[in-house]
């Protein structure tokens, strides 16, 4: 079983939160993509990771402006693993742009290393980023230490010779052409085109007369409005041209020899360069996690050694945002659960489902090495999180109940593998009598297995009969209810939430059920006789 499947991740809100963690660089995004949550056997690693995040968050709080600098540096770091890998292959030669990228990456690493040092972030890494002073010097030959890259003459005497020769030839060619063309260009009052042509309007009679007589050009085309003359290349010019193209060919060969040499030098440092990239990616990813934690006022999860989860003032961030839009507050939830089954009961709209999602979300966040939105969260690592999704599964044509049962089958099969099993409205999709019986069976089984299971239900009596931990949504607050009595009567059921206390309280076996439904009916002015009968039935 996966730690958290896609659909559950979406349903509990983790997917959306995970998307809000945004490393600024391609590398950081890559690290995030490759990230896998920590499982039970990686407890020590997770602890270390959370410690590092705490360390980073504390420094960010003190040095915000320096972090801004660091982020703008990270933003432009590119993912050049591909290029570095190419340098390692014997067959490929890096082109000038690839070499430029490597050089730039070395310079960036150096700058990032410096900031890491200033911010005293060294403890984040077992090994620090590497400098490659010799390679950098080599990649900067003949061009100071700027970030640009050019195959300068300093790389190779032969290249210098070839280039000097080419320049000489080009100069000669220019001179030769100039000797030939200057007079004509002057008389024609225009330069030759890129094709060595001059076109003249028939109105320019004098120029035409001159050009027709000039030995250096020949008439190549004529129409009703214009004549075109082309420069006749003398033997010297064609000789120079062919020499230039020959020397250019040599230059290209020589350049490739140097490129091979450069590639080779880079390949020798390739592992170190890649290790730097890994570290930069990690740093960027960590920064994103830290900023996320600061943004939602999260705290560091604590890892329990006993198999329990305890939440103090836990907040479901997405729900909190939704409520804030409507001007309402999220009621933080306290909860303590342990291996075996725990039951949550309470009225409709009382937040039972939200509590379940919160447990799943905080656990998922913690195992992704994130801080969590709670004043305290102590947990024990899980190998998977299951959250029941009872929405009708149209694809397989199964009914709500059928879907639930087929999902639970898989879950119960792996329930001895330290899971977190959360079931919303157990056996809700079938008739009450059988539903109750099946729910009883499932909870009874889960209670004996090596997972932490939390089940919400309408079947209040399940808790008493099974003798398991039982939480109840506090439900309608009597004082508030009498305060808002008339207001609710006038404005209807929609304002009832003002009176709802979403806190969970632990219920001892044998205590009385709150009769919220009857109470609500009463407030809404329901028939008195019906209410009386209902209350009597409940007593029995």
């Amino acid at each position: 079983m996966d730690f958290l499947n896609e659909e559950i991740s979406k349903n509990i809100g983790f997917k959306q939160l995970w998307q809000e963690i945004e490393p600024v660089s391609e590398l950081g995004m890559r690290a995030k993509k490759k990230f896998k949550p920590y499982l039970v056997k990686e407890k020590t690693e997770l602890k270390l990771e959370l410690d590092k995040l705490e360390f980073l968050i504390n420094i960010i709080k003190q040095e915000e402006s320096e972090f801004f600098k660091l982020k703008s540096l990270l933003k432009v770091v590119k993912n050049i693993y591909g290029i570095v890998n190419q340098s390692r292959s014997k067959k490929t030669v890096l082109d000038d742009i690839d070499v430029f990228e490597i050089k730039k990456s070395i310079i960036q690493s150096r700058k990032i290393k410096y900031i890491i040092k200033t911010l005293k972030l060294n403890d984040l890494f077992e090994e620090q980023l590497k400098d490659f002073p010799e390679l950098l010097k080599y990649l900067s030959l003949g061009q100071s230490n700027s970030e640009s890259f050019y195959l300068a003459n300093d790389y190779d005497d032969k290249l210098e010779l070839i280039r000097r020769k080419r320049k000489e030839l080009e100069k000669k060619l220019l001179q030769e052409k100039n000797d030939l063309a200057a007079e004509i260009e002057k008389k024609a009052k225009r330069p030759f085109s890129t094709d060595n042509e001059i076109s003249v309007s028939k109105n320019d009679k004098e120029i035409i007369k001159y050009l027709k007589e000039a030995e250096e050009v020949s008439l190549v085309s004529e129409n009703f409005a214009a004549l075109t003359f082309k420069l006749i290349e003398n033997e010297k010019i064609s000789q120079l041209k062919s020499e230039i193209s020959e020397i250019k060919r040599k230059e290209e060969i020589q350049k490739n020899i140097i490129r091979k040499k450069i590639t080779n030098k880079i390949s020798k440092k390739s592992l170190g360069i890649m290790a730097n990239l890994d570290k930069i990616a990690y740093l960027d990813f960590m920064l994103a996690k830290a900023e996320f934690a600061l943004g939602i006022s999260a705290s560091k999860p604590e890892i329990n050694s006993d198999k329990s989860i305890s939440i103090k003032d836990g907040r479901h961030i997405l729900m909190e945002k939704e409520l804030a839009k409507k001007g309402m507050d999220f009621t933080p939830i306290d909860l303590e659960i342990k291996e075996g089954a725990t039951l949550i009961t309470g009225p409709n709209m009382g937040g039972k489902t939200v509590s379940l999602k919160l447990i799943a979300l905080l656990t998922a966040m913690a195992q992704h090495a994130l801080f969590v939105p709670a004043t305290s969260f102590k947990f024990n690592l899980r190998n998977y999180i299951y959250f029941s999704l009872t929405s009708d599964n149209i694809k397989t044509g199964l009914s709500k109940f059928g879907t639930e049962i087929s999902n639970l089958k898989t879950v119960i099969e792996s329930a001895d593998n330290n899971g977190l099993i959360l079931i919303d409205e157990i056996a809700h999709g079938t008739n009450p009598a059988e539903g109750y019986a099946i729910a009883y069976g499932i909870i009874n089984k889960l209670d004996k297995m090596k997972s932490i299971s939390v089940i919400t239900t309408h079947y209040q009596r399940l808790a008493d009969q099974l003798e398991i931990t039982h939480f109840q949504v506090k439900g309608l607050d009597k004082d508030l209810l009498s305060h808002y009595h008339n207001y609710i009567k006038e404005n209807g059921i929609d304002v009832l939430n003002k009176c709802m206390d979403y806190h969970l309280k632990k219920v001892e076996t044998g205590s009385e059920f709150p009769q919220d439904a009857i109470q609500i009916a009463d407030i809404l002015g329901f028939d008195a006789e019906i209410l009386r009968t209902a209350k009597e039935i409940m007593k029995k």
Partner: protein, 358 residues
Amino acid sequence: MNLLERIKNKKAKSVSIIGMAKNTGKTVTLNHILKLAELSKQKIALTTIGLDGEDKDKVLDNPKPNIVLLENMIIANAKQLLIESKLDFKILAVTGIDSPLGEIVIAESKESGFIKLSGPSSKYEMQIIKNKLAQYKPDLILIDGALDRRSFSSPALTDATILATGAVTAESVNSIVNKVNYQSELFKLEKSQDQRINKIISNLSSETKVLIISNDYQTKSLKLKTALSNMEEVINSIDSETKAIYFNGALVNKTISTFIEKCAFVNQVEIIVNDATHIFISPMLFNRLNAKNGKIKVKDEINLLGITINPFSPNGTYLDPLELLEKTSKAVAPIPCYEVVLNKMSSGKGVENIGFFE
């Protein structure tokens, strides 16, 4: 005044060259300006608007590199074309902007030669590239652009624009002149005189498709995919209190004809588009709108520096170049027109030679 002198004269630091159609001689114009720059030792930075996927093959199949690169020029070009050119380059920067022919790279040429160019394909990316090129302090940034509904408007990004037109755009000299005259009329369109409207529009996100602005500057954004197919819905949102309506996209015949026919407030509402290259309405309709006192305004004005004409059409037509030059320049005066192959120019008062060696 030759084109480069005119650029200097107007103090334009960036110029886009756009063609009214393919084969209007845009590349010849570009090479002409590069030649002028070489003679006056100006440092040029150059890029071109990019190609979408389907045009990639066209570039690769075109056997001949066509742009003359001078030594020490700064260019923004797709990686593949840069490497293919085998010219000597210093790599200055990479941009992170991708194209079908690889990332756009900023490089400085260390020798002269011919090259094919391909650059960024969105306005946003071109703005980034332009800013990058400016970092190397060239005397002039040239953008080889297009006047095409598919591509973005490069004139809006540059201080000034040169328009290339020619025989390919119409059958006769007169109809070419009419076309280019109409185009230059469109390029004269101005911003709204109401600064508050201009401010509202300049602050809009590119997501806004249609925006209605009322007399008291309340705005209403219409969530339409295109204004084109929903013009009636747009018109329903216009009332006696509407001051202006902004279209983010192309203004086409149907938009304006529906507007003229169905809207009762034609003479009171300003229609605002991003810039004149987004207007594709016929001259007749434009005149009808004017006759009804309708007004089109732009978010970004275009500064048309000059027009180059190409008397050749690929179908074999060769029009009288001097007649075309003179008639065009009379129509668009005082904007100067150039026939750079024959080295002629005109500012509406006869034809003269382009000054090269002064």
